[in-house]
């Protein structure tokens, strides 16, 4: 009656077939004294870098005993994070050794059924490679394959996932970034790129405005520098619609109407102008279009207008305008929250202009600080491989064939809209659109329309649930890598502290494995190299310029501790801006060309529709980073369920009391959660933090529409998302 298995799973089944009488080992083997000695009980330390999408990108020390990760601590040699981690960083052992981790390549038949079969890496690669080749044959190109990767792991070697795709041909790429592109473009139009002062330089400021920035939750390691500045006499102002933990510590907190930050900055600018606190020399010498903007201020902006627009009293606008303009140097930190609006980029441009007008740009202790990519001078060797000869793609503006790009921020709709050829297969790496993309219902529909979905992940989330094949990803303790921050100037090496658990592999290994398989099936079908150790690949990411800026001759020196890139403490202190005019472009022709106002002038904010009068803001959570961390048991114990922060006055209107279940809905969908009455939010704004709770279908994105913000296309390929222009109604359940 016994059937012959179609799959010779896990190789030979000798012991089984040989019969009950014989004993043979399959799991155990003769002790190898060398490896026994290697995994001894002495505690070894390794250098790691937290690779999450976070300002702080902490230097870590992992403690390994018997080949097992025992605890993770901060790296004292890291000058920005200074030997301390955050609440998330201290939970890593739970992540690495969670019994819930995805351990093996698995196949789901049919997709979404929950019927999973374990497959070998070989079978996984075979299935995927054959599917790619099959699609290529059917459609004449690899364009039906769509790749979506973002910020699950920002390690440089993880760009190998991008390399996987570029090496098989021209594919469809999710292009853009959801988080911060409007602000990036604003700074690109103004200065040529985004470039913030060294955050450690914050200690030198005399006046600090955190504009929509909650460092207590999202950049805790900047706190000591801000504190130091305050000890030296600096005043801390926080402008935020939500009274955050950071705002609670401010000398002055301003509860602004959401999306009206530009109006506040314009009001300040007008008052500064009226009192002639303008640094005319700096502004006229370093920018173009400044006087044109001054005319706009004179003709179009009044303090009364700004006060009524923003909900901030006139006297307060005058107060902060005076203080900001007369405290030298004064610094502004523009958070990513405030640009997630339909006029978000424009608001950042106005704030930039405020910095220019007061001569705070290019100064230590000053700056309009948003983020930077100056320290990311790697070779990106893992990423870029040319398509195989004869590959067909989309003819671009330059007349050459290339990838087809679609908007990462309207992913579901854009994927489904592709016709010639349609998208048939998804490859997801470092990304969980099921949890994080707007309009979850559309995402579900789009996934359902695919022929084939591959995801690479460590935990079973909504995206994995909608996949055909899931490949187990390593954690950052299980692979080599190198990481830079988009905020501080440090670069650290990430050493392999423990072996990859079970059958997990890094994106780099997966890239090489797939290439091997594709070439075996059809020679020349993939250009990705098929060999090289992770360390060899790592070495290739460094170049002379990068080494010089770090003061090292070899990347291995980073094993002695992270290094800070040698740059002046103040961005733009050399005055060499990277705009077409080489000056700060208060008047930006580029912006104008892209259909935006040339000047940093007021653009109306999005108003609440009548049907959905309440704004639902979904900022970053404290105990998680997007869909990471909150699902871990320690986090669940500290924060077992999501809550809706609602102002008592608004709650009273709906008859909602503390702890009541509230349905939050709009025409896209709904979520139901417990109410927490608090005056830390505004009367017409409810707040719930985006996060993936373990064993919960809670997901704020069921109600979030993919509304684009005004900017992002210039520098990142697509506009960002106006996450915070999300309007709902409430109902007590």
């Amino acid at each position: 009656m016994m059937k012959i298995s179609r799959r010779q799973f896990l190789g030979a089944t000798a012991a089984v077939t040989a019969g009950a009488g014989l004993f043979s080992f399959e799991m155990l083997t003769k002790l190898d004294p060398a490896s026994a000695a290697a995994d001894n009980s002495e505690t070894k330390q390794f250098r790691n870098v937290c690779p999450r999408n976070c300002y702080d990108t902490c230097g870590q020390i992992s403690f390994v005993q018997d080949g097992m990760l025992k605890k993770v601590d901060g790296d004292p040699k890291h000058g920005y994070t200074n030997g301390r981690l955050c609440v998330k960083g201290y939970t890593y052992t739970r992540r690495v050794y969670s019994p819930d981790r995805i351990k093996y390549p698995m196949k789901q038949m049919p997709r979404g059924s929950g019927n999973w079969t374990r497959i070998s890496w070989d079978e996984a690669m075979d299935t995927i490679a054959k599917k790619i080749l099959d699609l290529k044959k059917r459609y004449g190109s690899t364009l039906p394959i769509c790749f979506d990767k973002y910020s699950g792991n920002f390690g440089i070697l993880h760009y190998a996932a991008d390399g996987t795709m570029s090496s098989i041909g021209y594919t469809t790429r999710a292009v853009g970034t959801p988080c911060w592109p409007a602000g990036i473009d604003a700074q690109t139009y103004d200065f040529g790129t985004l470039y913030n002062n060294d955050p450690e330089d914050m200690v030198n400021t005399k006046y600090l405005i955190l504009w929509g920035q909650n460092l207590a939750w999202t950049a805790i390691h900047s706190l000591p520098f801000a504190q130091k500045a305050r000890e030296n006499g600096a005043k801390l102002v926080v402008i935020d619609p939500i009274l955050t933990s950071t705002a609670s510590k401010a000398d002055l907190y301003i509860q602004i109407k959401p999306s009206t930050d530009g109006a506040l900055a314009l009001g300040m600018a007008r008052y500064i102008l009226d009192n002639n606190w303008v640094d005319w020399d700096y502004a006229r010498a370093n920018s173009v279009g400044f006087d044109e903007w001054i005319d706009y201020l004179k003709n179009n902006v009044t303090l009364d207008w700004a006060a009524s627009k923003t909900g901030v009293p006139k006297e307060i606008i005058m107060e902060i305008a005076r203080e900001y303009a007369t405290s030298k140097p004064a610094s502004m930190w523009v958070g990513y929250g405030m640009q997630r609006h339909t006029n978000g980029g424009q608001n950042v441009r106005i704030i930039d202009a405020l910095g220019v007008m007061t001569g705070n740009v290019g100064k230590s202790g000053g700056g309009v600080n948003y983020g930077q990519l100056e320290t990311w001078g790697f070779n990106y060797g893992a990423m870029s491989y040319s398509a195989p000869k004869g590959s067909r793609g989309i003819v671009g503006a330059n007349g050459k064939e290339g990838d087809r790009s679609i908007n990462i921020n309207n992913f579901a709709h854009d994927v489904m809209a592709q016709q010639d050829p349609p998208v048939k297969m998804l490859w997801l790496a470092c990304r969980n659109p099921g949890g994080q993309d707007p309009d979850t219902h559309a995402i579900e529909k789009m996934f359902a329309s695919m022929e084939f979905v591959v995801s690479v992940d460590s935990f079973f989330n909504k995206t994995v649930q909608m996949s055909d094949i899931v490949l187990p990803a390593t954690t950052h303790f299980e692979n080599w890598d190198v990481n830079a921050s988009y905020w501080h100037y440090w670069i650290g090496i990430n050493e392999m502290a423990i072996q990859p658990m079970y059958e997990s592999k890094s994106d780099l290994e997966i890239a090489m494995l797939l290439s091997k398989k594709m070439n075996a099936l059809e020679a020349g079908s993939c250009t990705y190299p098929t060999s090289g150790s992770e360390q060899e690949w790592l070495a290739k990411e460094f170049n002379a310029a990068l080494n010089a800026s770090l003061g090292i001759s070899n990347y291995k020196e980073l094993s002695n501790g992270p290094r800070k890139v040698k740059m002046p403490p103040a961005a733009w202190s050399d005055g060499k801006f990277r705009t077409p005019s080489k000056k700060i472009e208060i008047h930006s022709n580029q912006a104008e060309k892209n259909g935006l106002p040339a000047l940093p002038i007021w653009v109306e904010e999005m108003k609440a529709p009548e049907k959905y009068p309440v704004r639902l803001m979904t900022p970053h959570p404290q105990l998680g980073l997007h869909s990471q961390f909150q699902n871990l048991d320690w986090m669940m114990a500290a924060n077992p369920e999501p809550k809706l922060e609602i102002h008592p006055n608004l709650a009273a209107k709906y008859g909602i009391q503390e702890g009541d279940k509230v349905k939050v809905f709009n025409d896209l969908g709904d979520i139901t959660l417990k109410a927490h009455l608090t005056r830390t939010t505004s009367e017409n704004v409810v707040v719930s933090y985006e996060a993936w709770y373990n064993k919960s279908n809670y997901n704020v994105n069921y109600t979030v529409k993919a509304i684009p913000s005004d900017m992002g296309k210039q520098a990142t390929g697509n506009n960002g998302l106006a996450f915070h222009d999300n309007f709902v109604d409430l109902q007590k359940v």
Binding site: K3, L10, E26, M27, L28, T117
Partner: protein, 222 residues
């Protein structure tokens, strides 16, 4: 240890270590070869149970029931495989992860002190896990293989020419099962009993619990 050495080995005619070892080995294969190979590992498991069942009627009835469930058509086999993965493998958070430290360590994680303890037991026998550091040493299949190995070495017939101290192996088995298998398997089995959607798995669990006890029962008989 001195106290342990005073105990005699069970009478050879009632010990059946070889047969018990075979059942344990077959159980090990059920876990190491996974849900995808149940079509092979289950019948083998049933066969070994039959042989041992000659001496233990309770086991015979268990294996007879298992046999009914192991002769399945392809679709049923597949359902069995899905259920196996849901219970033990993933990618959804498995109901009963087959690793000792998940049940006994304070943290309920893999790679904890229990893992190190069984590793050192293996090392005492000059053995190690094939993929040490990747797969936890206290993985179900590995522990069962080790248990089978100890019992085989305690078996007279197998060892007669090797001059091994059979008593030592019997005591090692006793120690290993008391310190490890008997501590965590009941908790593991309970989860399977509570959440399994297919009767094969609770049955398999019963065989597992019953079999690891057999050598110890004999010790009491001495």
């Amino acid at each position: 240890m001195t106290e342990v050495l005073r105990i005699d080995l069970p009478n050879e005619s009632v010990a059946h270590f070889k047969e018990i070892a075979s059942v344990l080995l077959a159980l090990s294969r059920v876990f190491s070869h996974g849900g995808e190979s149940l079509d092979k590992t289950l019948p083998m498991m049933v066969k070994t149970c039959h042989q041992l069942g000659e001496y233990y009627p309770e086991l015979l009835s268990m294996s007879a029931e298992l046999e009914n469930h192991s002769l399945l058509n392809e679709i049923e086999q597949q359902q069995l495989c899905f259920e196996f993965n849901r219970l033990f493998i993933g990618p959804t958070p498995p109901i009963a992860p087959p690793y000792e430290s998940v049940y006994l360590s304070q943290d309920q994680l893999v790679m904890q002190e229990q893992t190190v303890k069984v590793r050192s037991l293996y090392q005492d026998e000059n053995l190690m896990v094939i993929s040490q550091g990747k797969n936890p040493d206290d993985f179900m299949a590995t522990e069962l293989e080790f248990a089978a190995y100890l019992l085989r070495n305690a078996d007279k017939e197998a060892m007669q020419n090797k001059g091994l101290n059979r008593l030592k192996y019997y005591e090692l088995y006793t120690e290993f099962s008391q310190e490890h298998l008997r501590k965590w398997l009941p908790k593991f089995v309970e989860r399977v009993h509570q959440k399994a959607n297919h009767p094969v798995f609770p049955m398999l669990m019963d065989v597992l619990l019953c079999t690891i006890e057999l050598p110890l029962q004999q010790r009491r008989n001495v």
